[in-house]
């Protein structure tokens, strides 16, 4: 049945016109993704009118080309100039940019390109095979579960904090404050406006992001006139050749990271309202936590590029399945696609895959094909983009500063966004100077409003706060949050303190509670497996404790 549908979908899409449209869409997406301030959503919105006259599958295939292109395009600017083209490639910048600055931009780009590709392919295979089951998990989520999921994502700030955890947490809390400024989404009441119209309108996310990251980075680059007059190529032996073989070999070697990050991406994508801006950071965090050398993250570590890039492309697949199976958009982009389907009288619902198998599988195949298409197009596009690194830093900085302003303006067509960009440029530069990490602040700005919205919805349904621990998924994420907060301390003291030996088994045992609460067969069975693993680990603790005490 699946094979039949797949073949029918291939037949539907394998026309010159559709492939041409997808190619144009993917190029547009790559361009939009690479331009900071120009979002994928904006590119999709601009594509929408062009799809009115197309067949439903053709129109959606074109949009998928833009979507996948945009997700992959974000890595180019993120790696080469330190400006994430889209929020979905924020985490790529953490290691991609340092790697490029360390003289290895070709390898960094290769890692990004191939991780995106593999992430997309893994997501497609998963979606076709286990789509209905994944959609069911998304359907189980209630507001309490969403809030706890976002809360878990917020605890990631602790591990993004770097050397000084308290500065990282302050930075994260400042991000939450920034997100509070202006009218609140629920009641429309002004907060932290101090009677000022500019503050009353609040801060759009992208100007804040570009100001904090790009503006402040550019200012750091030109602080010293001598280094400002050098190009990136002068700073070291920079290879402009994209190192495909080396990148593929590294990714295959780090396949666990790739698969884990892709799974995180798909799972996050399946959950409505949790898009690639969250998944890339979650995947990065998990890769850092699982790495034997977490201290190297942030300095140009290959795992720090593989994780976010595979996750953000995989998220697109997850978001598509929720859109198709439930009619719920996973993010703004799939919301626009949903609109495109509705224009063609195709109404996504839980019965969509069964009722419209041709279009449903055409979406899967288009997503699969788009990854190949983008890989081919990107390889050529990147060659040109790498040449950017040969331009002198002050020339690049001066042009990008103006370009950021224009790009930011085009978001909402208001000059206030340009002021926001400049103000957060100053804030970002000051924070850099004072050694406050910026990544937690970004996370706070992104996740703050989402967390508040779900908290409000939870409390609107019931004021009983015990709901947060009686709902299995909510409890699952709250337990994960507690352990996530303590993880930085665990990593610092691992191998020196006895309590760290208990960390993993206790986490496993704690997670069995919500798994048992979920019921069914698979999840309790998974809980039993976790109990067995925990017991096996605990049996080794007395010997490990003695060994530790003898060392100490």
């Amino acid at each position: 049945m699946i094979l039949e549908n797949v073949l029918a979908a291939i037949q539907e899409l394998a026309t010159f016109k559709t492939i041409l449209l997808m190619t144009v869409g993917a190029m547009a997406g790559l361009l939009a993704g690479a331009i900071p301030g120009f979002t994928i959503a904006m590119a999709i919105v601009l594509t929408l009118p062009f799809t009115f006259g197309m067949e439903a599958s053709q129109g959606v295939a074109t949009m998928i080309g833009v979507y996948v292109g945009g997700l992959s395009g974000g890595l180019m600017s993120g790696i080469l100039i330190g400006i994430p083209g889209t929020p979905s490639s924020v985490a790529t910048t953490f290691d991609g940019f340092p790697m490029a600055r360390n003289g290895d931009p070709g390898f960094a780009l290769g890692l990004g390109v191939w991780s995106s590709f593999f992430g997309g392919i893994i997501a497609t295979v998963l979606l076709v095979l286990v789509a209905p089951q994944l959609a069911k998990v998304g359907l189980e989520f209630q507001p309490w579960d969403y809030f706890s999921l976002i809360f878990f994502a917020l605890t990631v700030t602790a591990s993004l904090a770097g050397e000084n955890m308290i500065k990282g947490l302050i930075s994260g809390a400042l991000g939450l404050i920034v997100a509070c400024v202006g009218e609140d989404d629920i009641n429309g009441v002004q907060r932290f406006a101090f009677g000022n119209d500019f503050l009353g309108e609040g801060f759009a996310f992208l100007p804040v992001l570009i100001g904090l990251f790009a503006f402040s980075q550019l200012m750091s680059d030109i602080r010293d006139t001598t280094s400002a007059r050098k190009s990136l190529t002068d700073m070291g032996d920079v290879s402009v050749r994209i190192e495909h073989r080396r990148a593929i070999a590294t990714i295959i070697k780090d396949w666990i990271n790739l698969v884990r990050s892709s799974l995180i991406g798909v799972f996050t994508g399946v959950l409505p309202a949790a898009g690639s801006s969250i998944s890339n950071i979650l995947a990065y965090d998990q890769a850092k936590k699982a790495s034997p050398t977490p201290e190297k993250f942030g300095t140009g570590h290959s795992g720090g590029i593989i994780a976010p890039e595979s996750a953000n492309n995989a998220t697109a697949g997850g978001a598509l399945i929720t859109m198709m199976a439930l009619g719920i958009p996973g993010d703004v982009i799939t919301a626009v696609m949903l609109g495109a389907l509705l224009i063609h009288d195709v109404i996504p619902s839980p019965a969509f895959i069964a009722e419209q198998p041709k279009i449903a599988y055409a979406i899967f195949i288009a997503f699969f094909f788009a990854n190949f298409l983008v890989l081919i197009l990107q390889t050529g596009a990147l060659r040109g983009f790498v040449l950017v690194t040969r331009v002198r830093m002050y020339v690049l900085a001066s042009i990008i500063l103006v370009y950021c302003g224009i790009g930011v303006f085009s978001l909402n067509n208001i000059t206030n966004d340009m002021w926001t960009l400049a103000i957060f440029g100053v804030v970002g530069y000051t924070m850099r100077t004072l050694k406050f990490p910026l990544a937690p602040m970004i996370l706070g700005v992104v996740l703050g409003p989402i967390a508040e919205r779900w908290l409000s919805r939870s409390l609107a349904l019931s004021t009983d706060v015990t709901e947060f621990i009686t709902h299995p998924w909510s409890l699952f994420f709250l337990i994960a949050s507690v352990f996530s907060i303590g993880f930085s301390l665990y990593q610092k003291q691992r191998g020196t303190k006895v309590w760290t030996l208990w960390y993993a088994p206790v986490l496993m045992l704690a997670l069995t509670v919500p798994l048992f609460m979920m019921g069914g067969i698979v999840r309790p069975a998974l809980a039993v497996v976790l109990i067995v693993l925990a017991v096996l680990i605990m049996r080794k603790i007395p010997a490990a404790t003695r060994a530790l005490k003898s060392i100490n």
């Binding site: 809390a173 020339v395 500063l401 302003g405 303006f409």
Partner: protein
């Protein structure tokens, strides 16, 4: 001030900022609608931020006392020579930020095309030097780069960029 580290000073400033936030949190209007008041989340975050800043303050104070006991100096700043040294050290970013804010302030007069070209030219000349040959190159770079950007957004993406009074069409 001389015995206080930079972290202590920053933590005090942050605590003052927290005080302002908490005060502002109580000024938020409550529409008496819904279970979660619009002030609840900002107030909660303000309290968390205050608690974190207090820990930061305590940490930096402890660091100061430890340094005093050791007789070791505070972390050396990146620049030397007091306020004038600070100004010299951060001269480039200060001028660039000032130019950018000037660009934004004069945007209604110059518009994006002229204002942007002027900004790029001034930034290039300030950072790259003002030898006659460089001035020509900088002018060309400014005109071509901003012109291309302006054309792409105006005609390619149909974005109506801010226009100026000086030449109303652009």
């Amino acid at each position: 001030m001389g015995t206080m580290s930079r972290d202590t000073v920053v933590s005090i400033i942050l605590l003052l900022f927290c005080g302002l936030l908490i005060w502002a949190g109580y000024q938020i209007r409550d529409p008496q609608f819904g279970e979660l008041s619009p002030a609840a989340w900002p107030k909660g975050v303000s309290y968390v931020l205050t608690a974190l800043c207090l820990i930061y303050f305590a940490q930096s104070l402890m660091g100061d006392s430890a340094r005093k006991a050791d007789g070791s100096p505070n972390d050396a700043p990146a620049h030397a020579g007091g306020l004038s040294g600070w100004f010299r050290y951060y001269f480039n970013p200060i001028v660039c930020f000032a130019l950018y804010f000037a660009f934004l302030a004069t945007l209604p007069f110059f518009g994006t095309l002229i204002g942007g070209t002027l900004l790029v030219f001034l930034l290039l000349s300030f950072l790259g030097g003002i030898a006659p040959k460089q001035i020509v190159i900088h002018a060309l770079i400014a005109i071509i780069s901003v012109g291309a950007m302006w054309a792409l957004f105006t005609y390619g993406l149909r974005v109506l960029l801010p226009r100026g009074e000086i030449i109303p069409g652009i």
